[in-house]
């Protein structure tokens, strides 16, 4: 059985949705088009504001290149950190059974609804010099605030729930039947996870990873509150956009478009590969 049909049966669908095209109510098109325009028109409007003749110069300035490089590096590092911590978290939340599980799930999702600036304040209270853990770290000679590590922590804090939610949802939809079968045939829990569970939820894991990366790339509030803003160290692309807006609105618009382009490329690339993986 392929992962697609397995998911369908787990969702207790009568038939495979791919076989019977369900009718789409016509009224759905109008709001869908409005919704699409709502997202796309502002992007196009921003594109019309770009000073195209100087675009190259605006996005290749030293500060812009430093900001782009820093953004890509930190977002990649944050995504990795989210995977390392988020996959086990999703597994524990979806498959584990322990008291307080519901409460824990709610707490994990808090960064989703928290204004990022508040997230930054929370991180400062933890890792700041006078923070909960910061004081002992200071003794060890570790300083996190104002460092690139702080940027990665801020991004991971806001991005982690996206990965956990996506993966946990996929795990619940996939169900445990194949895991049970594999285990009954003698596979160790680690083998089941590696050979059965994760391959089944691969599309969910991939979309969660993309969401986490995109959220990390766009992170602003927690970073400026917790990490500060210094070229090449903590000033990521969103912070650079905000700063340039002050003196050079053309550069700010050009950089914004660059950020959009990076996001679109990443999402498009992973989406295509993800779709291929799911159909396999």
């Amino acid at each position: 059985m392929t992962p697609t049909s397995e998911r369908a049966s787990a969702a207790r669908a009568a038939r495979d949705p791919a076989e019977v095209p369900a009718g789409l109510p016509r009224w759905a098109y109008a709001p869908a088009v409005v919704g699409g325009l709502f997202v796309v028109v502002p992007l196009i409007a921003m594109g019309t504001r770009v000073d195209w003749s100087n675009y190259g110069a605006l996005v290749t300035s030293e500060s812009a290149r430093a900001a782009l490089a820093l953004s890509l590096q930190t977002a990649a590092a944050s995504t990795l950190l989210c995977l390392v911590l988020g996959i086990p978290m999703a597994l524990v939340l979806a498959r584990g059974r322990f008291p307080g599980q519901g409460l824990l799930r709610s707490l994990v999702l808090v960064p989703l609804v928290l204004p990022p600036v508040v997230g930054g304040v929370a991180l400062l209270s933890t890792f700041g010099r006078r923070g909960l853990l910061g004081e002992s770290m200071e003794v060890l000679g570790l300083q996190i605030a104002f460092s690139t590590t702080a940027v990665v922590l801020a991004q991971s804090f806001v991005a982690l729930p996206f990965l956990v939610v996506s993966l946990e949802g996929a795990l619940r939809t996939a169900g445990e039947r194949y895991d049970v079968v594999a285990a009954s045939l003698g596979a160790s829990p680690t083998t089941v996870l590696r050979r059965v569970t994760l391959p089944l939820v691969w599309p969910g894991l991939l979309s969660g990873t993309v969401l986490a990366f995109a959220r990390a790339l766009g992170e602003f509030g927690a970073t400026i509150t917790f990490a500060g803003s210094l070229q090449g160290v903590t000033r990521t692309l969103p912070l650079e956009v905000y700063l340039q807006r002050e003196t050079d609105p053309d550069a700010a618009v050009a950089l914004s478009l660059l950020l959009v382009a990076v996001a679109v490329v990443v999402i498009a690339a992973t989406h295509r590969r993800g779709a291929g993986g799911a159909v396999r």
Partner: protein, 268 residues
Amino acid sequence: MTAALPRRTTRAPAALLVAASAVVALTACSTGTVATSDGEEDTTLTVFAAASLTEAFDEIAADFEADHPDVDVALSLAGSSSLVAQIQQGAPADVVATADRATMDALVADDLVGTPQTFATNTLEIAVPPGNPADVSALTDLTDPDLNVVVCAPEVPCGAATTAVVDRAGLTLQPVSEEQSVTDVLGKVTAGEADAGLVYVTDVARAGDRVEGVAFDESDAAVNTYPVATVDRAGQSPDQADLAQQFVDAVLSDDGQAVLADLGFAAP
């Protein structure tokens, strides 16, 4: 039950209507357009002021209203460049006070204001956490690479002032962060993350016990001036133009200057 329902639903809109008209009446009062007992209408004077002037102008406006019982002063507080943009777009202001000369000059160039007068100045000061843990006593102390020094980015006005004083002193700072605004710098100091930050004297005064200020000689290199001017706007009555001038005079008066001095501003 079924008979009671329609009656309730018809009653609710009526109650809403009463509430709504009460709200309308109240807002009409607060904007001062309702005739007073002697038949004269209250005049509203709209004052646009830079955000850093919030406390000072709240107090000056309250004093002005006490002296002019038939006048309501409506304060609109925002960043200087936003205020200038709003006035250029035709926002109905009678008086404008900005936090620097350059923004006011834009209004002068467009012939939108009378002659600006400088009513206060502000200089930079070193802000340190309470108790001054890093023992900062002069601008040269900030060159210590072991200190976490936070300043404004050169792109924003407070950062330009920082560059001016540091250059005058012949120093090179290696800040751990170049923040977007002076409040962000202050925030890093009050949180104890920064050992020192360069902010305005008035910011230190406003922060109260949460920071200590360390004055330094080189701050003379960047003196920020605050100009105030009357706005020439369409549809302004002679009365309002007169009141606008009186408000400017109040800002420049001894009482107005005392309010500003209390909040850390220096005299022009």
